[in-house]
């Protein structure tokens, strides 16, 4: 077929030689063009783009070696038009020069027609293989571009607070195995993940979508960081082949508790920096990367640290510290820490670290993905308070009539050991969503439920005193004590009841939580809470103050062992 016919270019100053070669090539189904010196050979190569070039060495105007060099320079790595020298110079030097100038083969006269044809066939076979590789490579490139587009547009553009979380992300291959996710918890804390899948390219991306979905959905439903990590591990273990895994650091920053919950599974140290750029704490990897083990190790736990609101949490992947310069030296932890410190002082962490890396590597190609996230420790809770719906000034008559009987109610009585393991809040939220549908006003209800439930469990059932939080070690000490009491718990109860009243333009949820604790002196605690909030940055009482702001009414009865909160909202018009 004419379309598939290959084109050969013969460059030879001898017309007779041209004729002989043309005849042989035509027998092999080539169409042939000729040039009689090196320079016009190069011109014809440009205008005809042949599939094969046969080149004499000694020619007027431009010799074969120079012509070959120019042709190979033009074709670059894009196409391989094989070039064979045809010569009677049977010397080692001719052979060496022909290879040096870019020739793919040499054929020394005299040769038989069959030897010539065999040579053409073999060189064409190599050229075909090269074409195949080229095509495959292009397809792979397209896949990688698609994956990158999906990653940046679908996954990371849906991150929360992109303007406040600072990010560095430089992929080694076009598609990066690193992912960075942020999501807002219903109680106003923020969850952030920096993760690194094994390897690079498309292969390393198969886990990205399920990780993203799970991380976002569980955060939205109010699961704790640890529950999310455990679930991601289980999911990835199931999904990924044995040699693929996911090294990741997780943090939950709660500015109203002034604490951060952190777990590092297989990444380099994470950091807590103060606003002077000093390292307040390093978070070492404490668990193998996710996806290797079926379940997390029994001693896996999140670390709790006290934060100042001016602090920031910084995570990096190994690409930063393993970046190399021309001498093969690593950028290393120390250079990174120095750059980070200076960057924080100058208030531009990202550009300082980037600049230092670039100066250090000076154009050495990047071997691994480089990524960093820096999360400020303040300002997250505002997101929730600002979302507070308008409480109706007055209820209309119809509302009063409907208020006497709830349209539905729901109870959960959790006892003893179950209190250790069951987190009832996501369960309750899912019930509410099932019955009433999703809605933004549930975010505040989530906060109310969480705070009240934790209060009943901690101060009621576990009998923890909130004065513990005032010690220098503050919240982390409290958290450790809580864990140890919880592990020993085998009696006690928490009873949660919900009643739902629809209103003409919204609704009302009445939450009651009772616990088996000893109760407390309601008046005294409330009074001291108010005083503390006015005078200091104390942590205790902050949760209940938040609930108070979100609720229509909040009332403790039965010596503080029973609390009733009523939450009213208006549908947004």
């Amino acid at each position: 077929m004419a379309n598939n016919q290959k084109l050969a270019l013969i460059v030879d100053d001898s017309k007779t030689q041209c004729k002989i070669l043309t005849k042989l090539l035509e027998e092999e189904h080539y169409s042939v063009i000729e040039a009689n010196d090196g320079s016009s050979g190069v011109q014809k190569y440009i205008s005809h783009k042949p599939d094969l070039v046969l080149m004499d060495i000694n020619m007027p105007i431009m010799d074969g070696f120079e012509a070959a060099r120019q042709i190979k320079k033009l074709s670059g790595t894009k196409d391989l038009a094989p070039l064979i020298f045809i010569t009677s110079m049977d010397t080692d030097q001719a052979f060496i020069d022909s290879v040096d100038s870019g020739g793919d083969g040499i054929l020394v006269r005299p040769f038989s027609p069959n030897v010539f044809k065999a040579k053409i066939k073999s060189i064409q076979r190599i050229s075909n293989l090269y074409q195949q590789v080229k095509t495959l490579q292009q397809e792979q490139q397209q896949d990688a571009e698609l994956a990158e587009k999906m990653m940046s547009e679908v996954i990371e553009s849906r991150n929360f607070a992109l303007d406040r979380v600072q990010v560095i992300k430089k992929a080694a291959t076009i598609f990066s195995g690193d992912i960075q996710l942020t999501a807002l918890c219903p109680n106003g804390a923020i969850h952030v993940l920096l993760g690194d899948f094994t390897g690079h390219g498309l292969r390393s991306s198969i886990g990205a979508i399920p990780v993203t979905e799970t991380f976002r959905a569980m955060t939205r439903k109010g699961f704790s960081l640890f529950e999310i990590v455990a679930q991601l591990n289980k999911q990835l273990n199931h999904l990924l082949p044995a040699d693929l895994f996911f090294a990741a650091s997780f943090v939950c920053i709660s500015d109203h508790e002034k604490s951060a919950y952190i777990l590092n599974a297989g990444l380099p140290d994470g950091y807590l920096f103060n606003d002077k750029g000093q390292i307040r704490k390093r978070f070492e990897s404490s668990h193998p990367p996710l996806g290797i083990l079926r379940e997390l190790l029994p001693d896996a736990k999140v670390e709790v640290v006290d934060i100042d609101l001016s602090d920031s949490v910084v995570f990096i992947s190994d690409g930063i510290i393993e970046a190399r310069n021309e001498q093969g030296e690593l950028f290393g932890v120390e250079r990174f820490e120095n750059a980070a410190t200076e960057g924080i002082i100058d208030n531009n962490l990202v550009s300082t670290v980037n600049e230092r890396l670039e100066v250090f590597c000076l154009g050495v190609p990047q071997e691994d993905d480089i990524s960093l996230v820096a999360i400020p420790c303040h300002g997250w809770i505002k997101e929730v308070i600002n979302n507070k719906p308008v409480i109706p000034e007055s209820l209309n008559e119809q509302d009063f009539n409907q208020q006497s009987t709830p349209t539905w109610s729901w109870h959960l009585h959790l006892t003893g050991k179950l209190l250790r393991t069951v987190n009832p809040i996501p369960m309750i939220m899912s019930q509410i969503n099932d019955i009433e549908g999703a809605g933004e006003h549930w975010h505040n209800l989530y906060t109310i439920l969480t705070e009240l439930f934790i209060n009943s469990l901690d101060h009621g059932v576990l009998g923890l005193s909130s004065s513990l939080k005032k010690s220098p070690e503050g919240f982390s000490q409290y958290f450790n004590e809580r864990t140890s009491r919880l592990n020993k718990l085998d009696s006690g109860f928490v009873l949660i009841s919900l009643k739902y009243f629809p209103l003409s333009e919204g609704g009302k949820m009445v939450v009651n939580i009772k616990d088996s604790g000893k109760g407390f002196n309601i008046l005294k605690v409330m009074k001291s809470n108010t005083e503390q909030l006015a005078t200091s940055n104390d942590l205790s009482g902050r949760g209940i103050e938040l609930v108070n702001q979100l609720c229509d009414t909040l009332e403790y009865i039965e010596e503080g062992t029973s609390v009733t909160a009523s939450y009213v909202w208006h549908n947004k018009s």
Binding site: G199, A242, F245, P268, H287, P288, L293
Partner: protein, 101 residues
């Protein structure tokens, strides 16, 4: 060869040693060292004393070896990792998954 392996039938040991760089390019060679070994109760030793660089796909390859070792009721020990390699193994907390000495 950048991956070497030898089976000592007297001591029941299979020693796999890796040269300077342990990365994805060794994938096939590394697998070939053990995939045809079906003997039970062997002691697999992964000698990393000469290895100066290891990437995360090498960690993945070690996990594949570990699966193989467990399937044939054998044991796996990583031996003599250099300081840089130790650091990588430590970050990945591999001492929680296998013996390193």
């Amino acid at each position: 060869m950048t991956v070497n392996s030898s089976l000592h039938s007297v001591s029941n040991q299979l020693v796999i040693s890796i040269d300077e760089r342990f990365d994805f390019s060794l994938h096939q060679q590394f697998r070939d060292c053990y995939s045809q070994v079906h003997q039970k109760g062997l002691e697999y030793i992964l000698d990393l004393s000469k290895t100066k660089y290891m990437d995360s796909s090498a960690l993945g390859m070690i996990l594949l070896l570990k699966d193989h070792v467990e399937m044939y009721a054998s044991t796996l020990t990583i031996q003599n990792p250099s300081e840089t390699v130790s650091k990588i193994l430590e970050i990945a907390q591999f001492h929680r998954l296998m013996t390193i000495k």
